[in-house]
């Protein structure tokens, strides 16, 4: 067995992941991060709507949606603290579609400088990120 790191993904509702994995990649605010075991201590913000990909110890890959949070690497423990997080297979596509339609409709007739516009844009981004995950299915394709 190769090197491993401990991954914890924590949201307000529950702890989604708490186990040893081989590698993790996710999107930070300033680009993609790939974390391998024994990465140097690191702290960064996660992009508002992104995905994370976990490489399990057996080499298989799992993807999940994470948003609005922080990543911290410390003593070989990577903690992703985020406001929302779902495994790819947990995402309810119908709900995501509804959210997307709502956001698009809002964007169509809102003032481009208003705060609501930004909010709608953010929720559209999240909906699209979730959709992309579902489309791709778990463990295939690259993180765009």
């Amino acid at each position: 067995m190769a090197a491993e790191l401990h991954l914890r993904i924590v949201t307000p509702d529950r702890v989604i992941v708490d186990r040893k994995v081989a590698a993790v990649s996710f999107q930070g605010v300033d680009g993609s991060y790939g974390i391998l075991p024994h990465h140097a201590p690191l702290m960064t913000a996660i992009s508002a709507a992104g995905s994370a990909r976990i490489t399990e110890l057996d080499g298989s890959k799992v993807e999940l949606f994470v948003s609005d949070g922080f990543a911290q690497m410390h003593h070989n423990v990577l903690t992703l603290v985020c406001e929302a997080g779902e495994m790819a297979h947990e995402i309810d596509l119908a709900r995501v579609k509804a959210a997307e339609a709502k956001a698009r409709e809002k964007l169509a007739h809102l003032d481009k400088l208003s705060e609501e516009f930004l909010k709608a844009e953010a929720s559209l981004r999240k909906a699209l990120a979730r959709e992309m995950l579902v489309r791709r299915g778990s463990g295939t394709g690259d993180i765009a």
Partner: protein, 303 residues
């Protein structure tokens, strides 16, 4: 006879009340358990977030430019008041109102010009404030306290921090009920904004001691893009956990308080029922004796 009938009616109604209060007690304990489960699953998130922010705070120091830390002479105090939507929960709301009155008196004593602005969660608190003519900025009804989730806290924080950053209020307190145990809960009013660095220091000191004791040294972090930016982005998240925690504790206290109130109501009803039954039986016995005497008296008069 009229007396007996009346007694029967009363016994029946008291038994009915006991049944209802017992049901309410059970509902309250179930809800309490649910809220506690919610609080438990929320705990890791708070812990992690606090850990991160404490480490960063130590690194960033007192960010003088940050609007979150801005301290100005208080002219308008904002209050987030968390109470229940429903009554019949003992002194839960009354205690909160007492604390509110104390605050109003204190503000009036210190500086009559200082204004109070209120944000409300919970119908009881809202109607209390309105009845007394206070200015309520916003009354949150959605989502209901029973269906409380993290998004509610997010919404409240959005609103409060906007008011603070725009300077409409220059400090904010959260009035909520702290849940200490199943039988102990009391009003608390922690400062919410401005943020002060000492909020993070006490625990940081403990942690430092802990970490010194553990074998692993606390390494220097790579913080990207840079500590101040991350810290700034992290603060709203932290504030959300503070509010969510206050809400969860309040709701837990509400249910615990209702459970206790309903328990004592049930006990009282059962006791009362026992007493009434005793009186009823005695009256019934007396009636029978009287009737027997009448019959015996009648019979001896005939013979």
């Amino acid at each position: 006879m009229a007396n007996l009938k009346e007694l029967r009616g009363r016994i029946k109604s008291v038994a009915g009340i006991a049944q209802i209060t017992r049901a309410m007690e059970m509902v309250a304990s179930m809800k309490l358990r649910k809220v506690q489960a919610k609080a438990m699953s929320f705990h890791p998130y708070t812990e992690e977030l606090r850990g991160v922010i404490e480490r960063l705070a130590a690194k960033v120091g007192e960010p003088s430019g940050s609007p979150w830390f801005r301290v100005t002479p208080p002219k308008t105090t904002g209050v987030l008041l968390i109470t229940s939507d429903r009554g019949l929960c003992g002194s839960y709301n009354a205690n909160m109102f007492k604390a509110m009155q104390a605050l109003a008196a204190e503000v009036r004593a210190v500086d009559p010009d200082r204004k109070l602005k209120f944000w409300c969660y919970g119908r009881k608190g809202y109607s209390w404030l309105v009845r007394r003519g206070y200015e309520v900025e916003r009354f949150f009804v959605e989502p209901a306290l029973d269906k409380l989730d993290f998004r509610a806290a997010k919404m409240v924080v959005d609103e409060l921090s906007k008011a603070f950053l725009e300077g409409r209020v220059d400090n904010i307190r959260v009035y909520h009920t702290r849940f200490q145990s199943m039988i102990r809960f009391e009003p608390a009013s922690p400062r919410f904004l401005p943020v002060m660095n000492r909020d993070f220091v006490t625990v940081e000191a403990n942690r430092a001691a802990q970490e010194a004791a553990s074998a692993l040294p606390d390494l220097d972090y790579l913080v990207e893009p840079d500590p101040a930016v991350v810290f700034e982005a992290l603060l709203p998240r932290y504030l959300e956990t503070v509010v969510y925690d206050a809400m969860l504790q309040s709701v837990a206290s509400e249910h615990a308080s209702r459970r206790m109130a309903m328990k004592s109501a049930t006990d009282a009803a059962v006791r009362m029922n026992k007493g009434l039954k005793k009186i009823y039986n005695r009256a019934r016995q007396e009636n029978i004796t009287k009737e027997l005497l009448d019959i015996v008296g009648g019979a001896s008069a005939v013979s």
